[in-house]
Structures are given as C-alpha cells and as structure tokens.
C-alpha cells in the first residue's frame, strides 16, 4: 500500500478516526494492528518476519541490560546478526543459496519492505541500551509499535527509541490543532509528490532510460538537476506524509529535512538531508570511528567520513553506482574537513551574502553531479552522464525539451524553495496555519486538494511512480 494511493488515504482515514474514538488503553494495540495490516498489504508473510525481528531485538536488549560481563560481545553478536541479515536480503544471498540447493530452481525472497530502516532503529536501540542511554523497554507490545509503526515502517524516518517509546505512554486525546497540522502536512506531501515529483520523473526518466537520447551536455545538466529536485520533492513529500499521519495519531516525529539546498557545504548538506539517517550514522559510525582514530590528526575526520559515506552508498543498494555515490560524498565531506579553516578565513574576508551564495551554488552543483550516480544504478552510466555534462563543446540552447518541461521545472523549483522555507521555519509555519480562521483553512485545503486532483500525475495512462526511497 503505497502512501500516495487512494487506498492509503482511506486506510489512514479509518485508522485515525477509529484510533481517536478508542479508549486510551486499546490505542497502542490498535496501532500495532494497523501497522501489521499495513505491512501485510505488502506481502502476507511480512508481519511474521517483522514480529520475529522485533522479538529478537527486544530479547537481546533485555539480555544486554542484565549482562554484567562480555556486554560488548553480546551487542556485537546481536548487531552483526541484524546487519548480516540485512546484507543477505539486500544482495539476494537467500535466493542464491536456494538456487544452489535446488539446482537452479529458486523462489524469489524479496528484501522486506523498509527493513533497512527498522534495522537501524533496532541497532540504535541495542546500542543505546548497552550504553545506558535508554532502559530496555519492558513491554514487547510497546516495542513492537516502535518497530512496526506504519507511518515509518516503509521509508523511515529512523526515529530513535529514546524519542519514540516514551510517547506511547502519553495519553492521546483528540487534539484538533494536531489533527489540522497533521492533515496539512499530509496534503502538502501529496501535493509535492503527485503534482511535481512524479511529473518531473515522467520527464527525466526517458533520458536516464536511454542515454543516447541527447548528446547536449546542457540538456543533461537539466536532467541531472531534475533528478535532484525530484528526489527532494519525492522523499520530503513522503516524510511530510509520515510526520503528518503521526501528528494525527498523537506522535511527534523529528523532521528528516531542514532546507538542505540552502546548505553552504556538503557537510552542512548532510546535516540537513535525510537527517534521521545521517545523524544515525554520525552517532553510531562516524563519531565512534573518529574517537577510535583520534590520534591520527586530520585523518581522524577523513577516514571516518570516507567509511561512513561509503556505508551510506552501500546501504542504498548493492550496485557500483551507489558505491561511487557514497564514496564521492565521503571524499567531498573529507575535503570539507580539510579546507574548513581556510573556509573560515574566507568567510571573514568576503561579504556574507557573497560567501553564502557562492557556497550554496557550489554545494548545489556538486550534489547535482554526485546524485547522478544514485539515479543510474550502474556507475558506468553515471560517468557517461558526467562526461556528457562536462563536454562543454556539446552545450547548446537547443535542449529538446518542450515548454511543459520548463514550466514544470520552474514550478518545481518554486515549490522546493517554499518547502525549504517551511522547513527552515520549523514549527512556526504549521503553528501559523493552525491559527488561521476555519474558512481560510478549508479554502487552503480545497485549493491544494484540487491542485492535486486536477494537475497530479496519477490515473489511467500514467505509470504509477513509487517513492524513490522505498527501494532502499
């Protein structure tokens, strides 16, 4: 059940309405039921898998908490098991084993939907329990909510147990302000995804599917830029919907984006892009590695950056292009660390606006180029596109796009800027929206809904476009 389907809307409407009317005691169990039903819609066996995985981590956390000695060993074993399972699924090793046993006859065991996200949740939970940051959750049903929580299960955000579990115990009452804010986020998410992200995708996909479609480097620059825009609008839309639904259910989920394209460096970009993943890696990979290598001077930051971002690449998928994507980002972040002092000096000498504008433009251009590898799936294709972009002799204003492309492109930039302004103002925007008079609120909703209905990329004749991050 994809988020941007009518089925999901009906599902959410029913879940929220029933949830609000249920007695407090039953509410958590209803969330489990709704989450398992949601997961069941993906594959019938999936609920069994996720329950088993949650149970394993629940038990291991208890063991860790009671363990007096060899705690690290128990932690390592538990985490390794999750990570191995992740790689086994991610790289289809099960399918290979079955094929080897059966002599070629294989059954396709799919990568469980959202496993990479809830695996991170569980790993961080175990580490936090081990470090004493959080006490092990005494109730399995509550832990099951944390792992299976349907607004997050398919694509995150990777909310930490320390932020989520205490919220289950807070009494949930009908809060019309929270409902209003949640609904506004959901509508905004749908608007970004269906009207812009998918429309952009329909325009740039033919180019990525057939690299010979154009030899104009300038056109390829637009295509690469288009993908970065699409990715932001797509993933931030999903996050809006996820956080919006959570708000309606009485849960506060931390934002996953904070105006990333306004970043003045790649390091800053990664603090503002997919925050729940980057902060997770910063806390559980980068910082421990940096601590471990603290005696290596500059390399204490460079090596962890390279490892962390290569891991980000590998996490995205098992192809060469993801590896290149992650490693390139690692190199850029490492360069950031190396030139940090010079940047500071430059910042003092240059006018503030010039420094920030140049920083934003350079960061954006680097992202446009590196994110090409996230789209292609094959590193060679990514390099071919980069080569086309840098073949300046091929640059021509005869781009081969129709007027519609530029209209959608320009409007997508405008929407992305609006989205960045909303993100950078934190909750102020939503608070302001919630204070609007009822007729104005309704008018805004109707305008957004009808913009989706009339201008959206959906329905017969349109190939449904999945959220990009659902594949990760």
């Amino acid at each position: 059940m994809t988020f941007t389907t009518l089925y999901f809307l009906v599902f959410v409407a029913v879940v929220v309405l029933v949830y609000l009317l249920l007695p407090q005691k039953i509410k958590p169990h209803f969330i489990i039921l709704a989450s398992l039903v949601f997961y069941f819609f993906w594959k019938a066996w999936a609920p069994v898998f996720i329950i088993a995985f949650a149970l394993f981590n629940f038990v291991m956390a208890k063991v860790l908490a009671k363990q007096k000695s060899k705690k690290f060993f128990v932690l390592l074993m538990s985490v390794s098991l999750s990570v191995i399972l992740f790689f086994v699924f991610r790289y289809g090793i099960f399918n290979g084993i079955i094929a080897a046993i059966t002599g070629g006859n294989t059954i396709m065991i799919l990568f469980p939907l959202g496993f990479s996200y809830y695996m991170f949740k569980c790993v961080s939970y175990l580490i936090d329990v081990n470090n004493g940051t959080i006490a092990p959750e005494p109730r399995f049903d509550y832990f099951l909510i944390y792992v299976t929580y349907f607004p997050e299960v398919s694509m995150g955000p990777i909310t930490r147990a320390v932020d989520f579990l205490p919220q289950i115990r807070i009494k949930k009452v009908i809060d019309t302000t929270a409902l209003n804010k949640g609904l506004a986020l959901v509508a905004w998410g749908f608007f970004k995804k269906i009207v812009f992200a998918d429309m952009l995708a329909s325009m740039i996909n033919p180019y990525y599917n057939d690299l010979t479609l154009s030899n104009n480097g300038f056109a390829w620059f637009f295509v690469a830029f288009g993908f970065l825009l699409q990715l932001y609008l797509d993933f931030s839309a999903y996050t809006n919907i996820s956080i919006g639904v959570s708000k309606m259910l009485g849960y506060d989920i931390k934002p996953n984006f904070n105006a990333p394209f306004f970043s003045q460096s790649i390091s800053e970009f990664w603090r503002k892009w997919h925050i729940s993943l980057s902060s997770w890696l910063a806390d559980y990979v980068f910082t421990p590695l940096q601590f471990l290598l603290r005696r290596l001077g500059k390399f204490a930051s460079i090596i962890p950056a390279l490892i962390t971002f290569t891991l980000i690449g590998v996490w995205h998928g098992g192809t060469s292009s993801y590896l290149v994507f992650g490693f390139s980002m690692g190199v850029l972040v490492a360069i950031d660390a190396i030139v940090a002092r010079k940047r500071k000096k430059l910042k003092k000498t240059l006018p503030k606006s010039l420094f920030s504008t140049v920083g934003i433009i350079i960061t954006m251009l680097l992202n446009i180029l590196v994110f090409v590898f996230m789209r292609t799936g094959v590193a060679a294709d990514g390099f071919a596109i980069i080569d086309k972009i840098f073949s300046f002799s091929t640059w021509s204003l005869q781009l081969g796009f129709g007027l519609e492309f530029f209209i959608i492109f320009a409007l997508s930039i405008a929407v992305a800027i609006c989205s960045h302004i909303i993100e950078s103002r934190k909750d102020k925007f939503l608070d302001g929206f919630a204070r609007l008079k009822l007729p104005v609120t309704w008018l805004v909703y109707l305008v957004v809904i009808f913009a989706i209905v009339l201008f959206g990329y959906y329905g017969p004749g349109y190939d449904a476009i999945e959220f990009i991050y659902i594949g990760f």
């Binding site: 009518l6 009317l21 009908i174 019309t176 409902l179 519609e404 009822l438 309704w442 909703y445 109707l446 809904i449 009808f450 209905v453 009339l454 201008f455 959206g456 959906y458 329905g459 017969p460 004749g461």
Partner: protein
Amino acid sequence: MKKLFFAVKLVVFVAIFVVLLVFASYIVRPQSDMKTRFTGFYAEPKDSIDVIVIGSSPVAPLYAAPLIWNEFGITLYPLGTNSQPTVGIKYLVKEAQKRQGSSLFVIDVSLFMVEPQSLLTEPNIRNIVDNMTYSLNRIGAINEMVQIPGERINYYFDISKYHSVLRDGELSAASFKDFDFAVPSVYKGYFFVDAVEPFDPVDVSGITETKPIPDESEQILLDLMAYCESEQLDVMFVIAPYITSDERKMSHNYLQALIESHGYTFIDFNDKAGEFGIDYSTDLYNRNHLNLSGAEKFSMYFGAYLADTYDFADNRGSADYTSWDDAYAAWETQAAIAREKIAENAERLSNISR
C-alpha cells in the same frame, strides 16, 4: 461536545469537497455527441418523455426525435452509445427510469448477437458510465462491466482519467456549459449524418431458420427481461435496419422467438424496410447505419407505428413542450442542409459508378 463539533466540521468539509469534486469531474469529461445526448436527457423535465430508445450506434442517427414530435406529438429520446455493451443496458434503463418512469422503453438488441465480452472495451464502457451522473446505477454499471475489480476505482472517479485536460489546455467553454446536466440537446439526442454509401438491396424474408445467440448474451437478455418484468415496464425490443445477411437473420429469428416467448413485442425493422421505403442506394452511410435520408423515412414509419399502437398524449401546442418545437425548428434547418449534402453525395457516387 468537542468530538461532536469536530465530527460536524469534518462532515461539512467532506460534503463541500464531494460536491466540488463531482462538478470538477463533470467539467473535465470529454466533449462528444454522446455527452451532449446524455446531458440533454438529464435536462429534460421529469416524466416528459414518452419513448426512450436504448441501443448502440445505429440508434442516435436513426430516431429523428424532433421529426416524430412534429408529426405525431410523441416525445422520444434516443440514448445511444457506440458499441454499447449489452450488459450495461439494464443500468441505462434503471437510470432512465429515475427521471422518466412511465416511458415506453425501446431496446435495440442488435448487439446481443455478438459476444458480450468483445464489447467490454474501455471506450465502450466509458461511453456509458462517463456520461451518466454519479449514482448507484453508475456504480452498478461499472461493477458489471469492468471485470477487474482493481480497475473499477478509475471508473468510479472518472476524473482520474480526464484530469489532464486542464494541464493539456483541452478544456473548452462547452465543458463548463453543461457540467450541471441542465442543457437540453438541440436535436433531442438525434445525430445528423449526411454521408452516403450505396448498397444492393438485401432480401432475407425467406429465412425462417434460427441460430442461437451467444450463451452469455442470452443470459444478459433474460436478466434484462426479468428486470423489466419485475418493474412492470413497457418495453419493446427492436433491431435497427442495416445490411443484414442470411446468418444474421437466423439470429434475429432466434431473438424474436426468445423475446416473444416472454410476452414482449419484437420488431426486426429489416423486415419492414420495404414498408418504410428504404432506398439502399441513398439511405445508408455504411452497412450498419442509416443516414438522415433513411432516418426520416424510418422515423415517419416508427412514429406512425407508435401513434397507432400506444396511447400517448399529444402535447403539441402545450407551453411545457415548446423546447420540442424549438428542437424541430433547429432540426429542420439542419436537415435541409443535410438533405442537400446527401443528394450531392448520392449524385457524386452515382457518377463515379457510371
């Protein structure tokens, strides 16, 4: 109290949204002669139509409703759609009943001779359901005609199919004109055709054998007749004139026996072609359809048949029926042009054949 207030607000908002969505859906529906015909049907005052004709593409260019009104004082409305799926007819009858409950229903059964599945293409289904107003009948028709349940949602909410007209700049003033189903059809559903294709006369009067229609078609027809019986509707079944064949005549005979065994009138107008004076060299525009010239002859014949057989009140001269007088005036103006065109076309074809 807070919960109640919240619920009331929610219901009011949803109601506003649904009303706007319905209007938006009607606006983005594509313009076609079928849309105009259906919109016009809904625009007719309740219980003002004496005869409703339901059937496939031969219906709209055959039943010259304004002429029948002018000559016999009978109000007739053709609800024809191209390649009309037979399984959808019951729902059109139901929908028509809602507004014109006491009408005589004339159902063209020509397409009961073909496999019903072959008619269930998306355009054929949409010709019916995307010209109906939102109703339980529409949902019923969709459920019956769209075989894959997962696809039905795109038919229930037809805006999902047509919403791109706005982005593509295909929305016209006409789209806004008839979105509330209040604009009557200028020619009361009639569709002018002035093309000509000459054919040799066909005589199948000697064929008395029968050939069964497809089983599934027969089931649909039996179900339709059972429905009409349960509703005690006035119904007659017909086959429009066309260039038939011996084999098809056998199927007509089968249909006749089946329908008459259930106590309903059946007329194969191919048998009456001589009586209404069809000229095969000028009155058809292809082997399955009559043009205006044929329609005028047929309509005069059929109008006389209706006047002789049924006891319809003659409302000519009534202030409530002036729209029919206007329709006839408009129709006659257009018919004069079409007649000339037909004469030209016939002469041109005759010269070519010489």
